[in-house]
């Protein structure tokens, strides 16, 4: 059952990811990206990581993609007929080759026995309590560093936007 769900969601995830690149209209590809994010959230949920799944939807599908759509709508980017040039075709060709090489290398370097040795995570692992405990005990220092970094980023953004006024 779980495997079936995995294949189903994975299929849609891959499908939406491919469509996102292939589709011409900017808004449509953004929507496919949202679908992809939701599928990823589903995959997280299958791995017992409920909190990550929901956060994935809230942060990426909910907030960031709304901003992307906002920009697309403000700039009013309609469908654009790009002219097909030799350079573009060559770039796509090279890109496909590079990606397939990387994938083959990754596939070859992963040891299947190592993955099975990890075992499955406990059901407690991905819950709010589990993530919270791990985050605020074992990883408290990285957490604080990241929050200071984010604070600096916020202040920087404010200063950058204020200097124009």
């Amino acid at each position: 059952m779980q495997l079936l769900m995995f294949y189903l969601i994975g299929f849609f995830a891959v499908l939406s990811a491919v469509s996102m690149i292939v589709v011409r209209k900017p808004l449509n590809s953004a929507l496919f990206l949202i679908l992809n994010m939701i599928c990823l959230a589903g995959l997280f949920a299958l791995l017992n990581a409920h909190l990550i799944a929901v956060l994935q939807i809230i942060v990426y599908a909910g907030a960031i993609m709304v901003l992307v759509l906002f920009v697309i709508m403000v700039l009013n980017l309609r469908e654009k007929d790009g002219d097909i040039t030799v350079r573009k075709v060559a770039a796509q060709f090279v890109g496909i080759i590079v990606v397939s090489v990387v994938m083959v290398m990754v596939g070859a370097s992963v040891d299947p026995s190592a993955i099975s040795a990890l075992g499955s995570a406990s059901p407690e692992f991905g819950t709010v309590v589990g993530v919270g405990k791990t985050l605020f005990t074992d990883y408290i220092l990285p957490f604080e560093i990241v929050s200071v970094l984010l604070l600096a980023a916020i202040i920087g953004a404010v200063i950058l936007s204020k200097s124009k006024v």
Binding site: K25, L27, N28, L31, I34, I38, A41, H50, L51, A53, V54, L55, I57, I58, A61, G62, A63, V66, L67, L69, F70, M73, V74, N76, T127, V128
Partner: protein
């Protein structure tokens, strides 16, 4: 035939219970509240403005305060032409109303509308899915619901719609952040994200969220109204500026679906407010066990449980109805904010106040414990 021979028969009660709950919530939202709220909105606004409101539709001379208008509205909307404007993105134009409606309905899955009851050896929980992440799931789904408006705006190929969509996107992003933070105070007090646990703690009248988190309640109410895109936060569909905003180019059943999405969202907001701040299905000063033992002594355990379930359902939906009337009152009393005022309110007032609320709650919790 022996029922035990059917494979998976031991799951049958759970399955039946689940189906019943889903059907119940679906009927409540789509069948009862969505058409009824259209009528309530018109009638209540009329009464508030010393008018009479919808009162014409009559069957055999009985108008029952114009309640038939719920039916006539539905018939009218179904019978109307479904118009797609020229140059519209047809698939997206078709998709948008569904994207708006479905999340609004899904959000109800994690809202408990009753406690736990033992009916003839079966344990019934009146919640569709008691998720560990609880309230976060509602926020996630509400965020997805925004796309209905945005897609509709884009697909209509209409400048008014597009402006409405842009405003929706900006407003949603601003208020989603504030909304998430306003709720943190409540979560800190109840120490759980699960709505069932939050509801169970509120069995004690003085543990109701409205007493423990009054500031959080006001801020959450403001954010919820903004998420719902209703007056005074209705700039995405401001009639006097943008015709009808993002659903300008919709008619017939698709328009009805946007309408329905709005009303289902009102019900959802009222239900969340009930669970978080107004003691969910609990009657003040009456405990679950106390009432249950009283009912059991009168009519027996099973019937007592059943009766208790119906009492709690009535209390819960009664509270929801009260809150809906309150939200409608706000909607017909306040004037619309200007765009910059909405942004200012969201970022400069509600967000800092929510942070202060979190800080104050944390300090008080530390002192108390």
């Amino acid at each position: 035939m022996d029922i035990t021979l059917i494979p998976g028969y031991q799951y049958m009660p759970e399955l039946v219970e689940m189906m019943l709950k889903i059907v119940f919530i679906f009927t409540m939202n789509v069948g009862v509240f969505a058409p009824l709220l259209g009528y309530v909105e018109r009638k209540q606004s009329a009464l508030m403005q010393d008018r009479i409101g919808a009162n014409r539709a009559a069957i055999l001379g009985f108008t029952i305060f114009g309640l038939w208008h719920t039916m006539t509205d539905a018939i009218k909307l179904i019978a109307k032409e479904d118009f797609i404007p020229e140059g519209a993105d047809k698939p997206l134009h078709f998709l948008a109303p569904f994207v708006a409606v479905v999340p609004a309905l899904i959000a109800f899955a994690v809202i408990p509308f009753g406690g736990t009851y033992y009916l003839w050896g079966h344990e019934a929980h009146l919640i569709i899915a008691d998720l560990d992440v609880g309230i976060l799931f509602i926020f996630a789904v509400a965020g997805i619901g925004t796309y209905g408006a945005v897609i509709a705006a884009w697909a209509s190929n209409n400048n008014w719609s597009l402006l409405g969509g842009v405003r929706t996107a900006a407003q949603m992003v601003s208020y989603e952040v504030a909304m998430g933070l306003t709720i943190v105070g409540v979560l800190m007090v109840y120490e759980s994200l699960k709505l069932t646990e939050i509801a169970l703690i509120q069995e004690d009248f003085f543990m109701w969220g409205i007493f423990l988190q009054p500031v959080g309640f006001l801020l959450f109410l403001a954010c919820a109204l903004a998420e719902n895109k209703r007056v005074p936060f209705d700039i995405p569909e401001a009639e006097s500026e943008l015709i009808a905003g993002y659903f300008t180019e919709y008619s017939g059943l698709k328009f009805a679906m946007f309408w329905m999405a709005e009303f289902v969202e009102i019900v959802t907001i009222s239900a969340i407010l009930t669970v978080l701040f107004f003691g969910a299905w609990h009657i003040p000063f009456v405990t679950h066990d106390g009432l249950l033992s009283l009912l059991t002594s009168v009519v027996g355990a099973d019937i007592g449980n059943l009766l208790l379930m119906f009492i709690h359902l009535a209390v819960f939906w009664g509270k929801v109805c009260f809150l809906i009337v309150f939200l409608m009152l706000i909607r017909w009393s306040l004037p619309r904010f200007r765009y910059d005022q909405i942004m200012k309110l969201g970022w400069k007032i509600i967000l800092p106040l929510a942070l202060v609320n979190i800080l104050a709650t944390g300090v008080i919790l530390l002192v108390v414990k």
